[in-house]
Symmetry: C2
Subunit: 459 residues, 2 copies
């Protein structure tokens, strides 16, 4: 037998092993603590070993159980950050994608995968009311935001050929860290990112935005883009899209909307996302509020020719001879990656398996859970809501205890997982609902766990 | 039952369906044509459908068979581009990674996954003789090269805060298209990328490199980095690393080595890669010459602090409180992505399952297959080798026929798949061996298929 070759029987046995591990894990999920009791010393020791010269064979799959003791599982009681729940049909789709091993660079390289990706991009675009947008899948919001600002730069102050000039970009103080990171990478310089103050609902203040643009124009700077956020990561704040769009149009600026956290909620509450279709580009994350396994980001945009201007640098060896524009279609002419995996298959499987209504209803339930928690916090004498709850992130605090200490204890107790945010300079506990496994009991557990943790501090 | 929830029994049945589809596909692989007879019109029609309001349930998995009729399968007879073979243990690893759904942003978010990624990064670094390097996995060579040049820029002509200034980057004429793309994205400007002529073996000419640097210094330009390629994508040419490194050191330039295609061959033929450990950064692609399913790129580097300088822009909501430096470790402080999937698990599974020797031997066999083809071409009266074969890419032509027409016919015949390259202005047929499924019969089929296609042109 040739090296690396596996007999059909061995592969079949191995696949049974893998599947049985997957099944046990799924079945045990809700019994697992939300955070493992482990240390970096322990995990480093457990998993530091040399690559063995001789193969370990089937035994290696037994490592899986050890691994599961040291992961943060996607239970319904995990409320930290913005972490989707890893829908299992999507996970099976990932297996099939890896089996097919398509390199989705272009139609020619991966015919079915390219057509399927374009179909699901259409579904996502339509789901958020941007039916005429096109785009592609990518690793996540950071890459989507980077691509969007690369397009903005190339549209307004072309840099690909001659290098970046200092154009100015505007975003709210609540903008995600991937935006300053993208501005830096693109050679625009973080000092040319203006962080616009927010109103009491943590939305970008359009009067301050207008003033900042006017000030830059007066100083001879060149505004190029506004980043509006629909679903600020800390609080879910939705910037006033219609007003911002009007300013962008008047000032001839690129309007990028970062919807990595919140955008897909337009499926359930479109009224909160009016103006989305007026954006030039829009980031979404299907591994967040479409519950898909990582990774599955998405950038949608209105003008394909600008994506080409930003990303088309084809080498000779990938030149496509076809006369048919569809058969000459290449994702690498419109995005950052060249080699690309078949991310669309899990969406194809999961979104059709469950149907659109189920996703809409699951998002609506997350929104409901957030309101439910907000009400429980507001009506609790010892707790205080720290920000409005327009989507599914709830920021709050215990009135009389050290909230950092509470957070550490809540996590250590392992029943629910919360993360944190800073709201008006105050340390906030934060719960975010983007998880189809969460029950109303799980929501109630947030309050009882915080109170239990606070009680522990008294001892 | 809640929306999106699946009973254990239904999920178990569904998993059986998925596994049975995977098994049939693997078993049928070598009987499949290397290229499907399909058109963009056909695949668009087949896969254009709306996202249904009601779920299709288990039926959706039956789409898989339709999909397999319209893919380019990873058979042992696929020799186009640089496409790995999708090792099945790795594919099962991808299933388990999707089941765990870890967000590998940092140790805190994904303890086991972070430790495992750092372990396999160590394996890869050691395998190519760069044991003291650290780094991270990413989507592929394009992202790895982009990150490397972002580090080079930040090390030599810092731009994150104030914006890019025109630094000059040097690479061979044979450089991969991802390098000009990265130079453009980073705001350096493609006009500041110097493409250095190559010698008769298509390696960068160091005399021309030195002259270009001197010329730039004289003109007041600021050289910042040299990109050496180990395994040019067309021919596998390996730039003279030791000489280039000496120049980089003397001129205080960043040395990035693009080993996306060739670097991992250092496992089998380290003598061809002397000087690799002298690089500042090195791109590798485990989805190429480690046979893994897409995606699995890797960037290794020597100085972690420069990765931090280039990529650290943390938001408040991901601040890590731990005092333990290992527990405070975050990939997002050293790379482009924030959300990151558990790419390392497939490497953990596949590399240990087979052991290091099997991978080394499989790479050696690919190298042997390339030499075998080169000899068959050289000794064939009607064919001509167009470039030396230092690794596993073979560029050749038919002496008397239209080689573009031959390529189209070879692909249509469906027995082997070749791609193309341009060598000294001449259209070349190109076969590349990075596939553990290839047999010596498959190698022989390349010659017989090209001759058969040429014969068809006579009719």
């Amino acid at each position: 037998m040739r090296e690396l070759e596996i007999s059909n029987q061995d592969l079949s046995d191995l696949a049974d092993d893998a599947l049985s591990l997957a099944r046990s894990y799924w079945t045990s999920l809700e019994d697992r603590p939300t955070y493992p009791s482990t240390s970096a010393k322990q995990t480093t020791e457990l998993f530091s070993r040399p690559w063995p010269e001789d193969g370990r064979g089937r035994d290696v799959f037994q490592d899986f159980n050890l691994i599961t003791e040291h992961v943060r599982p996607s239970t319904g009681r995990f409320f930290g950050y913005v972490v989707g729940s890893g829908e299992p049909v999507g996970a099976l789709g990932e297996l099939l994608a890896a089996v097919l091993n398509q390199n989705v660079t272009s139609w020619r390289s991966a015919p079915a995968a390219t057509s399927i990706e374009r179909a699901v991009i259409g579904w996502l675009a339509q789901a958020v009311g941007c039916a005429r947008f096109t785009g592609s899948l990518c690793g996540g919001g950071s890459t989507a935001n980077l691509m969007a600002l690369a397009m903005a730069r190339e549209a307004k102050l072309p840099a690909n050929e001659t290098g970046a000039r200092p154009g100015v970009i505007y975003a709210s103080e609540q903008v995600h860290m991937s935006i300053p990171k993208a501005v830096a990478l693109l050679g625009i310089g973080r000092k040319n990112l203006r962080l616009i103050p927010v109103d009491e609902q943590l939305r970008m203040r359009t009067d301050a935005l207008e003033a900042a643009i006017a000030e830059d124009r007066k100083s001879g700077n060149t505004p190029i883009a506004i980043v509006a956020t629909v679903g600020a990561v800390a609080t879910g704040a939705i910037d006033p899209l219609m007003d911002i769009e009007e300013i962008a149009r008047r000032e001839a600026l690129w309007l990028h909307v970062d919807g990595a956290y919140g955008g897909l909620a337009a499926l359930a509450v479109p009224e909160k996302f009016q103006g989305l279709a007026l954006a030039d580009s829009l980031s979404l994350d299907a591994h967040k509020w479409l519950y898909q396994p990582l990774d599955c980001g998405c950038l949608l945009y209105r003008d394909q020719s600008i994506a080409h201007a930003a990303f088309s640098h084809s080498g000779d060896y990938v030149k496509i001879f076809s006369q048919d524009p569809e058969e000459a279609f290449a994702f690498f002419e419109e995005s950052i990656e060249l080699s690309r995996r078949f991310r669309a298959l899990k969406l194809w499987m999961s979104l059709q398996y469950h149907g659109r209504r189920a996703f809409r209803d699951a998002i609506a339930r997350d929104l409901h859970h957030a309101q439910m928690l907000a009400e429980m916090i507001s009506s609790h004498a010892e707790m205080e809501l720290l920000a409005p709850v327009p989507l599914s992130a709830v920021c709050f605090r215990h009135r009389s205890k050290d909230n950092q200490a509470i957070l550490r204890r809540v996590i250590a107790r392992g029943r629910v997982y919360l993360s944190n945010a800073t709201i008006n300079g105050q340390f906030a506990l934060r719960a975010c609902f983007v998880n189809h496994r969460t029950t109303t009991d799980d929501v109630r557990a947030i309050v009882s766990e915080v109170i239990a943790a606070a009680d522990e501090l008294n001892r």
